[in-house]
């Protein structure tokens, strides 16, 4: 497989370009997508034109509603919501329309669409521009939820999401946009939804890390490895459907679980993972399941306070020590 080198932002742009070339029914709509606040899709309009690459008014409800209606009538729209926080402005078309349409119509309609939206704190953008809301969507039957942490995953998963016949919530991370790595050039390269990836093998403890927490977990694994603690890192990549097999296998092997997400922990991704293990692998557990994530608070504008809130390497180390009984 021929490889290039790209950022996550670049990989997303590549995935969109390739899929738009491949299938004329793929279109992209959203606020200022031709330019892009983060520049992810900047310039693509030059190739695809304003019929397929559409800046919309500030109307999140109509953006998603339009995508749903278009998907029901033969298109494969990608809708962009500029910040995950703004998903609050279009929950109805996502939750009650896109997610339930196939079911409500007894399978006669399907809604092949993708909602792309960046989340995550760390930019001093304050409480309304920093949230990570993955868990809401995980709990909505009918949606798939994807959350990549590397350029190759971003590209492969986005291509699969676009080709999927269901509404897929594709959650990006602002701080990760400019992380770079190898990305296959092959236009047929995809990564199936629903497959976790074991990023690092280890024996003592499993960290299931999501999105922005993945690079942090990898750094911690190095650090702890030096201390003789062998950490296995699993990135679910797709949050729904979750690859429970891979996760169970890992925890059965290590006997210890730390979950790591950037969003608020209450009813979050980590809660779901903990519940999964507490039910299905309870007898393999050798220690408490420890969650790492944002405590039950908002992100401050003040950047030091913001960073004190965002879960980081220190939090991960503390959690691992607790999980392995080295508190």
């Amino acid at each position: 497989m021929s490889m290039g080198f790209n950022t996550i932002a670049g990989a997303i742009s590549q995935a969109i370009t390739e899929e738009m070339r491949r299938d004329a029914n793929v279109v992209l709509i959203g606020e200022d997508v031709t330019t892009g606040i983060f520049g992810v899709t900047a310039g693509l309009v030059d190739e695809f034109g304003t019929d397929r690459f559409c800046d919309t008014p500030i109307s999140e409800n109509a953006i998603i509603g339009c995508a749903v209606g278009a998907a029901m009538t033969g298109m494969r729209p990608i809708a962009e919501i500029m910040f995950q926080d703004f998903l609050t402005c279009c929950m109805d078309p996502i939750v009650n329309q896109a997610a339930k349409m196939s079911y409500m119509s007894g399978g006669t309609f399907s809604v092949p669409m993708v909602v792309r939206s960046p989340g995550g704190a760390g930019l001093g953008a304050g409480p309304q521009h920093s949230q990570s809301l993955a868990s809401w969507f995980m709990g909505v039957p009918g949606l798939k939820v994807v959350s990549p942490s590397s350029p190759i995953d971003a590209k492969g998963l986005l291509k699969s999401a676009i080709r999927d016949n269901n509404p897929v919530i594709f959650l990006e991370n602002k701080l990760l946009y400019f992380e770079s790595g190898e990305v296959p050039d092959d236009i047929d390269f995809t990564i199936p939804l629903g497959q976790a990836s074991v990023l690092r093998e280890g024996d003592d403890v499993t960290i299931v890390a999501v999105s922005g927490m993945v690079p942090r977990a990898l750094r911690v694994a190095d650090e702890l490895g030096a201390e003789g603690v062998s950490v296995e890192i699993v990135d679910p990549r797709t949050l729904y459907p979750l690859d429970t097999e891979t996760i169970l296998q890992s925890v059965k092997k290590t006997g210890r679980l730390v979950t790591a997400e950037e969003g608020v922990m209450t009813c979050g991704v980590g809660a779901e993972l903990a519940a999964l293990i507490a039910e299905k692998a309870y007898d393999c557990l050798d220690g408490p399941i420890v969650r790492v994530g944002t405590p039950h608070v908002n992100y401050a504008y003040n950047q030091e306070m913001e960073w004190a809130t965002i879960p980081d390497e220190q939090d991960l180390v503390r959690a691992v020590k607790k999980a392995i009984g080295q508190e």
Partner: protein, 330 residues
């Protein structure tokens, strides 16, 4: 900014068209009356909203649509489904919650949808159909076919943010959408005067740079004629139009609603607006049809309804354990 839209003089329809319109209205009327009984008898469950008295609007509008055109509908969706050519057997089966139903018993009254007929579904969320319509409008425009989307919604729905966002997007993008406001003067238990400070919802069109017109929605020829003009204009690529049909809700908000909040005298007199009686009388006076022809039509409809009820009643119950199906498409 392209051609200006102007409503032409209302036209009288010929015999064939008249009979087709009458039949469609009668189908809606009898379907709903039958449903009211089935609901009272607990044969049909859930929340059921009837279109009795409002038959002219879906009938007159959909008469100008082909199977390729789209509609989006509301919680009060049976009239739209039947108006657009929906099979009353499959509709009735859906209301009985059967596998043969349009949605295999999953959707029921508030969600009936029919892919082949471009019916993007009734909708339990007031105002949601408005934004979905921008999507089918987008598809049609992008694919450069001449399909029109008729987007039905009520006076109450016209206060939802979705109305505003959809109307604005449709006008900016010149989408081929006929926004059809069925203004029956009520949003549940609230009269129009309590929920908006305008008399005509069509007034709002100006805020989107879109033509807006109001017609007597209980006058089938007025609806038919206005829609003919509007759909022709839209198919030419001129963008959306807001058509308001003033109509009357004879029954409660939902089947079983005793309507204590309504003026009883007004309710007593409401049948004077009957779009079917009015049209029938005019047609007979004009000698377009005879009373006997109308009778024959009634009998035909009655028997079709009877068949539909039997079809529905005899349908197959889905296996209750099969609740995982259709959550995800393959």
């Amino acid at each position: 900014m392209g051609t200006k839209f102007k409503l032409k003089q209302k036209k009288q329809v010929g015999k064939d068209a008249a009979l087709a319109l009458l039949k469609r209205m009668l189908l809606i009327r009898r379907f709903e009356e039958t449903l009211a009984r089935l609901f009272a008898d607990s044969e049909v469950k859930g929340f059921v909203h009837l279109s009795i008295g409002q038959e002219a609007c879906p009938t007159g509008v959909c008469a100008h649509l082909t199977n390729d055109d789209y509609i989006t509908s509301t919680h009060r969706g049976h009239g739209h489904l039947i108006g657009k050519g929906g099979d009353i057997k499959l509709a009735m089966a859906e209301l009985f919650g059967k596998t043969e139903g349009y949605c295999k018993g999953r959707g029921g009254s508030m969600h009936v949808a029919a892919f082949d007929l471009g019916i993007l579904g009734a909708n339990g969320i007031v105002g949601a159909g408005l934004v979905l319509a921008t999507g089918s409008g987008f598809s049609a425009k992008y694919q450069n076919n001449d399909r029109v989307t008729a987007c039905f919604f009520g006076d109450g729905a016209s206060n939802q943010g979705t109305f505003h966002e959809a109307a604005n997007l449709a006008s900016v993008w010149k989408l081929p959408i006929l926004f059809v406001c069925e203004n029956n003067g009520w949003a549940e238990f609230s009269p129009q005067s309590s929920h908006q400070k305008i008399e005509k919802v069509s007034t709002r069109a100006v805020g989107y740079g879109m033509p807006g017109v109001t017609v007597d929605g209980d006058d089938i020829e007025a609806v038919y004629s206005a829609t003919a003009d509007a759909v022709a204009w839209i198919r030419k690529g001129n963008g959306p139009i807001l058509l308001e049909c003033l109509t009357h809700r004879w029954e409660g908000h939902y089947a079983g609603d005793p309507q204590p909040y309504r003026d009883q005298d007004e309710l007593q007199a409401i049948t004077q607006h009957c779009p079917i009686e009015r049209f029938k009388k005019q047609l007979i006076e004009r000698k377009t049809i005879t009373a006997a022809e109308f009778e024959a039509l009634s009998v035909e409809v009655e028997s079709e309804i009877g068949e539909a009820v039997e079809f529905g009643r005899q349908g197959t119950d889905p296996n209750p354990q099969d609740f995982m199906s259709y959550i995800y498409a393959d």
